[in-house]
Every structure is written in structure tokens, then in C-alpha cells.
Amino acid sequence: MRALLFALLFLALPAVAVEPEEILDDPALEARARAISKDLRCLVCQNQSIDDSNAELARDLRVLVRERLVAGDSDQQVVEFVVARYGDFVLLNPPVKPHTWLLWFGPVIILILAASGVALYVGRRARPIGIEAEPLTAEERARINAVLRDKDKP
């Protein structure tokens, strides 16, 4: 489907993303770069991370991420650097902020609401099987007898 979408959008070509010459010599640093890249959006693409994209901008960002890492930035500093330039839109993992509260807490709220709905439904329906109904009081019994006697009269 994504293929279809891409084809129809006439956007990025489906070539490889990370090119060999971009890769850092230090495998630990490279692994961090890959992890960071996976969560950064290629801004000119359709919902694609810079790690997946071969767009020019994605390549620039990948190189930038690696430059910052080599310069000694922590992962968080790298991400903050990119966000400072491009805004939250660049994050594929949206930060928890007032305007994403509904997004992040929504599933929990939905689950709680749905579970309470189910509990309410079952609670109303689940007459515990095996337990007999409460016995009638003497007064109720007398009233039933009275009603039944009335019925029998012609």
C-alpha cells in the first residue's frame, strides 16, 4: 500500500536510504545515529523517517545527526538540536505536550471507558447463577396469595 501511495505521489524514489559513505566508523556511535534517525521525520516525505528516505533533505539530516554525535552530543542533545531547527513536526514519536495529551492519553481513556461500559453491561446482566432469589417476606407472600385468590374468583 505504501508502494502504491508512493507511486501515486511521485515523491521519493525507492532507493536505499543510508549510504555507505555516511556510516560512521565507530559502530556504537553509528548505532546511536540509526536509532535517532528512525524517530526523525523526513520533512518532505510522506510519513517516512530520515533513516528510510533517500530524499536530499533526509540525507542532510542524517549527516547532521552524525556530525553532532561525533562532536560529542548526547542523543537527547542531538534531537533537541534538530527540533530547535524544524519544530516538533520532525519527531515521529510526538512529545507529550498539551496539544498531544489527547493523542497519548486517548487510548487509555478509551480503554477505561470501554471497560467500564462492558463491566456495567455484564454487571447488570450477570445474575449470579446458582444462587437462589431472596425468599419472600411473610407480607409479600400474603399479598400474592390475596392476588391469586382474587383471580380464581369468577
Partner: protein, 662 residues
């Protein structure tokens, strides 16, 4: 001339849809058999005329009639015949035509095979189906007519996007649409039941096979798209939580829930209004998916139908269909209440848990997919919602569903015994533990969560087997008796076991490929070799080979393991001169436990090619598991009870709770 016949066919189909959605409905209300008889006839006629229109467009593609605008824009005379035909639905207009053709196909199927339905119900179902067809035929004729002519036909066409020139296009969209549009039948049944103000166990029995068929097609269709992306895009991934993928996944989640809740309606005559609502939701989500993909609302930059007119038209259709059916639901649902007792620990209780989790998962994916759109529309804030969000929210919701999936089928209807079910599942628990530990060790102590995921898959698979063993009294009765019991099991029961086992296989594939993928990116010259996951890939260089309408650079890798040859991989990079575009063709060798996946991309200035090689563990299991799931659906569909239906008996027993058979 042929194109005009096709156009004319569309118009006639529209007229028949008008008849189909009005007169029979009035006939059903007034008990006028003549008017009611128009319904099935119009449904069959619609199929014939849309078939004619579709054949006309296909003909225009096959003979490369570039005086038809749609053909000129999307085809080329040098294209192989297969892609001339599949190119019919590789564009907006043609794919909408396929959409209504499949809608008509389901309508005609109800007309032909719905003989066991009460006449008024069948006619009302067809009328609702006709209304949907009416809306979409109007849409095609007014905004997306595939038969528009060009005054000045070009000498040759613009060609089909090279990415779509793949056998995947032949199967993926038709299957996807058979699923998407197939839910229209469940929707029509739901709306018809609301019109009649009556949902019975018999209704559920009739609606199940249609839902099951749509579900099976959609399952296969989604997997085909995923598989296509996997081998065609060359990223080694198969699912990206892309909005377009989500658009097809949403109706699947709702449809899966519907499939299960309809069983509760059939067996226990309860959950009726919820089931009707799910049927409305499943098709509404299909419509929303169509809207998202067709209107181009997903991208502000550029899209499928750039024309805002089309987006607006579908949006209005959407509002009428969804709003109308929900309004009818609001009015009629209170009459659908049932008084059946509902115990939490029971088969129906487990199915309710399934529905709770699937509906929540569906709502979550919906939220994540549409949140950026709504946020931007309402506040101008832009936010991206990518795979990290969906993995963080969807997986925790679906994991408990997989746990419950093994337990539910072991609980009896009305009143189940959880302790007894769990004690039967000891072997599944053992399997879960064993698989988890084994995969943890095999992965070299990497990924505790993934190991747990594998354990979950093992639990589910053994759970399905335990359930089957229970039914046929395996090892508790003589083998002969078990075999005869197995033969006597209803096909629907077999279908469930097979489908659940398929889910387990998919779960294992999804977990392993996500967690333990190995990737290696490097520049290689002929003769270089690289070690990936224990396999040695030796690059033999690149040759240029001609294709029918492209030129390919074909790289060759010989793969060995411990010096023994394993495979020769020949990934290609193709150049299509008509479109002036490249495509990547990944080369994949599957060992059934993993895929060895190789892609070549660019030659560097120094003559070395950049290559990427993946070892994707258990990816083949995803495809196998999905096929098994689809087979499970098909098996269940062949259950005699779905066709015979035995409506009278079921209706008589409905009040006194139908016996628990399956």
C-alpha cells in the same frame, strides 16, 4: 465507440441503482411483491452493466486507445500486456470503477445466494447496497469519469508508474477492495435490520458468512500490499504504520471484532445492538479509508486526486452514509435490547473481551492516524505520528487479546470454568515458556520483550491445538474415536482453530522480524564479500540486461554458509525511460526460517556499488500465517450451517437461548 459503451454502462448502472434503492424498499414496506422483485433484478443488472463498463475500459487499455484521457495518462503502448490490464485499476478513475464493480458483485451475490433470507430482508439489504452504489456511481460520473475522451489524442501514453509495474498490482488492489467493499454487505444487513427493527439469531447467522468472506479477502489483501512493499521498496521492512496502511487496517480490526460478536448474537441472542453498530463501523471505516486515500487529505503537498472537488464529494457521501446509518441506529437501537443472562466467565464473556480490546485497538489506530489532520485543522499545530507511537500504544492493547484468544474457546457458553480451562492449557503455558527461553537464548540474550512476544505466539499456537484436542478428545478416547470426532467437527470450528493458529504464526513472524533483523550497508566491488548473520555474501559484479520496457542493472551475489553454497541473489536496479524513473528490485532467498534479502543501489564514482543486505528472521512466517488465517476463514465459510441457515428453528429457539453447538 467502445469507451462510449462503457460510459453508457455506467449511466445504466446508476439508473438501476436508483431503482434498486427505492421501489423495492417501498414494496417491502407495503408488501408489494412486484416492487420487491425489482431489487434482485436490478442488482444483477447493475453487475452486468458495470461488468460491461469495466470490460470497455480494459479493452481501451489493451488496445492502447489514447483518445481516452485515462488511458493516455496512465498507459503506454510499450508496456507488457499484464501491466496494461492491471493498469486499469492503477489510477484513480479506474480504481473507483473497480470499487463499484465489486460493490455490484456483492449486491448480485446477495441477490443470487440470498434465497434463504426472508424476502423483505433480502430486498432491504439490496436496497441499502443500491444506495451505496448510487452514491459512488454519481461520484464516478461527475468527478472521475474514466471514459472521458481527448479531442487531440497523443501519439503515446504517459505510462504507468514503474513502481506499479509489478505482479503485485494484479492482486493487491482487487483483494483489498473485495475486503473493503465486502463489508458493505454487513453494513447493508445492519441497516436493513434497523429498518425492520429486529435483530435475531437468524440475522446473525446470515450476516456471518458475508462478513467472513470480506474479512478473509481483506486479510489476504493487506498482506499482499505488505508483501509488495517488502520486496519492491527495498527497505527490508513490511509495515510502516503509514496512514494508507492504517486505512486498510482499521476496517480489518472492526471487521474482526464484528466476526466475533456476530457469533454471540447467533448463539446467545445478545450483544445485538453492539453488533449492528460494529457492522456500521466496519464499512464506515472502509469508506473513511477510501476517502483518506482518494481525497489526498493525507498530504497537504500533493496527492492522488489533487482536485478538491473529489475530496469534498466523497466527504459528503461519507457524512450521508455514516451519519444516516448512525442516526437510524440511534432511533432503533433501544428496541434491540435482549434479556439474556450474561455471565462474565463464559464463551460470550471472552468474546466480549475480544471486542473490547479490538475496538480499543481500532480506536487507537484511528486516533493516531487522524490526529495530525484534526490538530492541524483545529489549531494549526503540526505533529507527526509515526511508528513509535503505534508500537507504544497498539502492542500493549493487542498482547492481552492474544493471551485471551487461547483461553476463550475453552470456556463453555453461558457459564465457563476458568480454572478448568487454565488447567487444560498447561501444555500451552509450557510451550510459551519454552519458546520464550529458546528464542532468548538463540538471540544471544538480546531483547527480553521480543522473547516474551515469541512466548505469546507459542502460547496461542498450542492453545489452538489444545482446544482442537479437547474437542476431539485426543488421548482421552481411542484414536479411532478422536478421528471420527475430528471428521464430525463443524467446518466453522476447524476454521477457528486454523485461523487462530495462523495468528500465532503471524505473531511470531512480526516479533522476530522486528526484533532480530540484521542489516549491513556497504560499498562493494566485484569479488568483495561480507558476512551477515552467519552467511557470506560475495558480490560478483553488475551486468546490464534489457527488459521489455526498462533497462536493468543486475547485481549478482553468491551466498554461502560455512563454505557451502546457499543461494544466488540477483537484485536489480531498473530504469524506465518512459517515466524517467528508477525502481529497486530486491532479491530474496527464503530459508523459511529467515529471508536473505539483497538490494543494490548506486554505483559510486570509484566503481563500487552501494549494497544493503538484510537477514530478516521469520518474515516468511508472516506470509504463511496470513495465508493460514485466510484459509481458516475460507474453511469456516464452507460450513454447511452458514448456507442452510435453518432460520425457522433458530428463530423459534431464539427466546429460549439457542443450544451451544460450536
Amino acid at each position: 465507440m467502445i469507451a462510449e459503451i462503457g460510459h453508457y454502462g455506467l449511466v445504466l448502472a446508476l439508473l438501476l441503482a436508483t431503482v434498486q434503492s427505492t421501489l423495492p424498499l417501498a414494496g417491502a414496506a407495503r408488501g408489494h411483491p412486484g416492487w420487491m422483485a425489482l431489487g434482485p433484478a436490478a442488482a444483477l443488472g447493475q453487475l452486468i452493466f458495470l461488468g460491461l463498463a469495466f470490460a470497455a475500459l480494459t479493452w481501451a487499455y489493451v488496445v492502447s486507445d489514447f483518445s481516452v484521457a485515462n488511458v493516455a495518462q496512465n498507459s503506454h503502448s510499450a508496456k507488457p500486456l499484464l501491466y496494461k490490464i492491471t493498469g486499469v485499476w492503477g489510477n484513480h478513475e479506474g480504481s473507483m470503477l473497480l470499487w463499484v464493480l465489486i460493490l455490484a458483485l456483492f449486491g448480485a451475490a446477495v441477490a443470487l445466494f440470498g434465497g434463504n433470507l426472508p424476502e423483505t430482508l433480502r430486498v432491504r439489504v439490496l436496497a441499502v447496497q443500491g444506495m451505496v452504489g448510487f452514491g459512488f456511481l454519481l461520484f464516478i460520473l461527475f468527478t472521475s469519469n474514466p471514459f472521458d475522451r481527448l479531442a487531440m489524442p497523443p501519439a503515446d501514453g504517459r505510462g504507468l508508474n514503474p513502481l506499479l509495474q509489478d505482479p503485485g498490482l494484479a492482486f493487491h488492489p482487487p483483494f483489498l477492495y473485495l475486503g473493503y467493499v465486502g463489508f458493505s454487505t454487513a453494513f447493508s444487513f445492519a441497516v436493513a435490520a434497523l429498518i425492520e427493527g429486529r435483530v435475531t439469531a437468524a440475522w446473525a447467522r446470515w450476516v456471518r458468512p458475508w462478513t467472513l468472506a470480506a474479512w478473509s479477502f481483506l486479510t489476504i489483501g493487506i498482506a499482499l500490499g505488505s508483501w509488495w512493499a517488502y520486496y519492491e521498496l527495498g527497505w527490508g521492512g513490511w509495515w510502516y504504520w503509514d496512514p494508507v496502511e492504517n486505512a486498510s487496517f482499521l476496517p480489518w480490526l472492526a471487521g474482526t471484532a464484528l466476526l466475533h460478536s456476530a457469533i454471540v448474537v447467533e448463539k446467545r441472542d445478545t450483544l445485538k445492538s453492539w453488533t449492528v453498530l460494529l457492522a456500521i463501523f466496519a464499512f464506515s471505516l472502509s469508506l473513511i479509508g477510501t476517502f483518506l486515500v482518494r481525497s489526498g487529505v493525507l498530504t497537504s503537498v500533493h496527492a492522488f486526486a489533487q482536485d478538491p472537488e473529489r475530496g469534498l464529494f466523497i466527504l459528503v457521501l461519507l457524512i450521508i452514509a455514516i451519519g444516516g446509518s448512525l442516526a437510524l441506529y440511534a432511533v432503533r437501537a433501544p428496541t434491540l435490547r435482549s434479556t439474556a443472562v450474561f455471565a462474565p466467565i463464559s464463551r460470550e464473556g471472552a468474546l466480549l473481551v475480544n471486542n473490547l480490546l479490538l475496538a480499543t485497538a481500532c480506536a487507537t489506530v484511528f486516533l493516531g492516524t487522524l490526529y495530525p489532520l484534526f490538530l492541524e485543522a483545529l489549531t494549526d499545530e503540526k505533529v507527526s505520528v509515526g511508528p513509535p507511537y503505534f508500537n507504544a500504544t497498539f502492542l500493549p492493547i493487542i498482547a492481552p487479546a492474544l493471551v485471551a484468544m487461547a483461553i476463550g474457546p475453552l470456556l463453555a457458553w453461558k457459564r465457563g470454568d476458568l480454572g478448568r480451562a487454565m488447567s487444560r492449557l498447561w501444555i500451552a503455558g509450557l510451550a510459551a515458556l519454552g519458546v520464550a527461553v529458546l528464542s532468548y537464548v538463540a538471540a544471544g540474550g538480546d531483547g527480553i520483550l521480543a522473547a516474551l512476544g515469541m512466548g505469546l505466539a507459542g502460547w496461542l499456537f498450542m492453545g489452538a491445538m489444545v482446544e482442537l484436542a479437547e474437542r476431539i478428545k485426543l488421548f482421552r478416547a481411542p484414536l479411532g474415536e478422536s478421528l471420527s470426532r475430528a471428521r464430525g467437527l463443524p467446518r466453522a470450528a476447524w476454521g477457528m482453530t486454523v485461523a487462530h493458529a495462523g495468528v500465532a504464526v503471524v505473531a511470531a513472524g512480526v516479533t522476530a522480524s522486528g526484533a532480530w533483523k540484521t542489516e549491513s550497508i556497504q560499498a562493494m566491488r566485484a569479488g568483495d564479500s561480507v558476512e551477515v548473520a552467519g552467511y557470506t555474501f560475495t558480490f560478483e559484479g553488475v551486468k546490464t540486461v534489457p527488459g521489455p520496457n526498462y533497462r536493468a542493472e543486475r547485481g549478482t551475489f553468491t551466498v554461502t554458509r560455512d563454505g557451502r553454497p546457499v543461494a544466488v541473489l540477483t537484485p536489480e536496479k531498473r530504469f524506465y525511460p518512459v517515466a524517467q524513473r528508477d525502481t529497486t528490485e530486491a532479491a530474496i532467498h527464503t530459508t523459511w526460517l529467515a529471508d536473505l534479502y539483497a538490494v543494490i543501489s548506486e554505483p559510486g564514482a570509484d566503481g563500487a556499488w552501494s549494497t544493503r543486505i538484510y537477514h530478516n528472521p521469520l518474515v516468511p512466517w508472516i506470509w504463511i500465517g496470513v495465508i493460514v488465517m485466510g484459509l481458516g476463514g475460507a474453511l469456516s465459510l464452507t460450513d454447511r450451517r452458514h448456507r442452510v441457515g435453518a432460520p425457522r428453528r433458530t428463530r423459534a429457539e431464539a427466546g429460549a437461548a439457542a443450544p451451544a453447538q460450536a
